[in-house]
Subunit: 407 residues, 2 copies
Amino acid sequence: MELRKLLKKESSSKILFIVLDGVGDLPFKDGKTPLEYARTPNLDDLAKVSATGAHIPVDYGITPGSGPGHLGIFGYEPTKFEIGRGILEALGLGLEVRDTDVAIRGNFATVRYEGDKPIIIDRRAGRISTEENRRIIANLSKNIRQIEDVEVILCSGREHRFSLIFRFPNKVTPLAERVNDTDPQATNKEPLVPVGANEEAERVAEIARCFIERASELLKEEVRANYVLLRGFSVKPELEPFPQRYGLRSLCIAVYPMYRGLARLLSMDVATFEGESIEDELRSLKTCWHNYDFFFVHIKKTDSFGEDGDFEGKVKVLEEFDKLLPEFLALKPEVLVITGDHSTPCIMKSHSWHPVPVLIRSPYCLGGLSERFTERECFKGELGIFPSYKLLQLILSHAGRLQKYGA
Amino acid sequence: MELRKLLKKESSSKILFIVLDGVGDLPFKDGKTPLEYARTPNLDDLAKVSATGAHIPVDYGITPGSGPGHLGIFGYEPTKFEIGRGILEALGLGLEVRDTDVAIRGNFATVRYEGDKPIIIDRRAGRISTEENRRIIANLSKNIRQIEDVEVILCSGREHRFSLIFRFPNKVTPLAERVNDTDPQATNKEPLVPVGANEEAERVAEIARCFIERASELLKEEVRANYVLLRGFSVKPELEPFPQRYGLRSLCIAVYPMYRGLARLLSMDVATFEGESIEDELRSLKTCWHNYDFFFVHIKKTDSFGEDGDFEGKVKVLEEFDKLLPEFLALKPEVLVITGDHSTPCIMKSHSWHPVPVLIRSPYCLGGLSERFTERECFKGELGIFPSYKLLQLILSHAGRLQKYGA
């Protein structure tokens, strides 16, 4: 079944899609999850009249990264589409990626030399401070701007991590990714030499070898970060643009660079606004309300507190969101969706495979099956447990944007 | 997994499969759906001891037409099999379709002429009355019985619609369908000339061009219906006969021509009986009870009232059905199934994507999970939410007609 053929050409319905990153959780305090523990009277009222359920990001028992998590809720089957690690790292640092780019994750490492031969003694350069990283990257950036006809772009990450982009004069293909990681995943070994598995990748590997040589020369005097390891060579994935795929003028409202970058990969417009709070995002949403059909509002802190195991923090974000919910509702979207991209249980301090609660509010809901917007209550709902990448089909039909299938 | 290999050759169990067309609904009055609002003590008692759940006709969020809806509940994956629009229209008017036929949906239209060139000014001929339609079709039928070696069959539909069959001397293949619609989907345009995308289709197109020419000549004096537009060229789909597929001597008891036609497409026997009420269908069922294993009883009015947005009407049909339910039960089928082919919410006045409540009563049910046969109660049941085309597998196993899979 090709969804595209069912799309209605004309509809003015607006879809507000709020993603509470990593919202799903497990019992932590008094046997309650953050959603259960939080005082959320507005969410409770909404859940009572909404279609509720839970979605599975990748597959039963499979924990998704942020890439697959978001691809799923945007209707792209995450096992069919992949966002390379180099690309995701670059997006996370706010770098623009183009179709001429190969993006790579870098680590600073410490090596000793046996003659000319580098031997790794610390694969993370003693986890140098982000500040030290910035100083070193500034030095590398100044001295390696170009290798042959390839532009070199460097950006500091946290601690020993950095992002590296090789910008070629022409479009690259997925073949260009086929370069091996140089990290041997063990100390007391030589770094691996990057080699390409095909002609296009070998050109990338050639530039990488040259980059490593010049970088290690420049880093010679560093005590800890005197070498670079490269991983996750990847190109910008070919993803059908979201606005065309679904016929929706689409806007992303997000604070964190990775989500803004993901939205750009899908050709959504990305709102620029002052501030970092949910209130700031709401203000931006109000400003742009008349210019779009689909609004992806990304709230990051639920995930951050989950990753930190900070139950109280996660509860507080949920309560903060709940207080603002009436203002979101006041915009009167035809369809309001509240969900997450995956679960991030506080007791696990990491993403997890647990199904993510979801709520759809439209005039076409049965409702009456969940008392609150919590994991346990949503499992009782009319949407059941379903694959994340089916969510967008449901949203489109609630928005009156799909036609009947077959006569 | 090939179901056929699991079929037991011998069983005398009887399956009574009652389809309340479009039964699923949404809250309409006092927050209740028709199933919730209706007084249905017999259905309630039955639901308490049955396996309950809800099925999804095509996919999450996808609204099915009547064709895909019924294919699904008969175990044919509706995205793999298709019933062409011309065929479905013909079945709906009670026409027999053969494997030598190309069936086409026709519209009367109004054109003006620029010299010889027809220009459409009304694609629906001002929605002429069904009566006027009948007069015109009678005239066309009398005068166009045959084009070369192809028999021409015409039948009035409602208002400006009609059904047209070209009956060829020999079997046609699906290639024959590849003829374009002649409706340009806009006024002030010339009708499109039908052209075939391959040799077999071009032969069909040739007959169609000749039909259009002769029809427009005969319609010249008509004020409104002076032209014909043709759409949905289609041949009888190749569907494995239901009785062979499942080893079930199968009977259809239905009032509306489309469902009787669908059953014939699947090679079910179709009961003939007097009257149009559920009581009349029940009487027919009793008469035939000893001659078949599988009884498809189709009750249309639930859907009709849904399409009309007539909540009270839908409630009344459900109460009427409930009163007769003890008589259906008195036949003691080994397996009784009550469900719909899709939902038709009164507030939408159309088919919808919402999962359809289902109940299976056999000696092998858990039961005790649903208090009534309603949408909300069925969501709590042991069958969960599942694709419609899996329902027949469940029914077969409840009927003791499937063997163990694997050793």
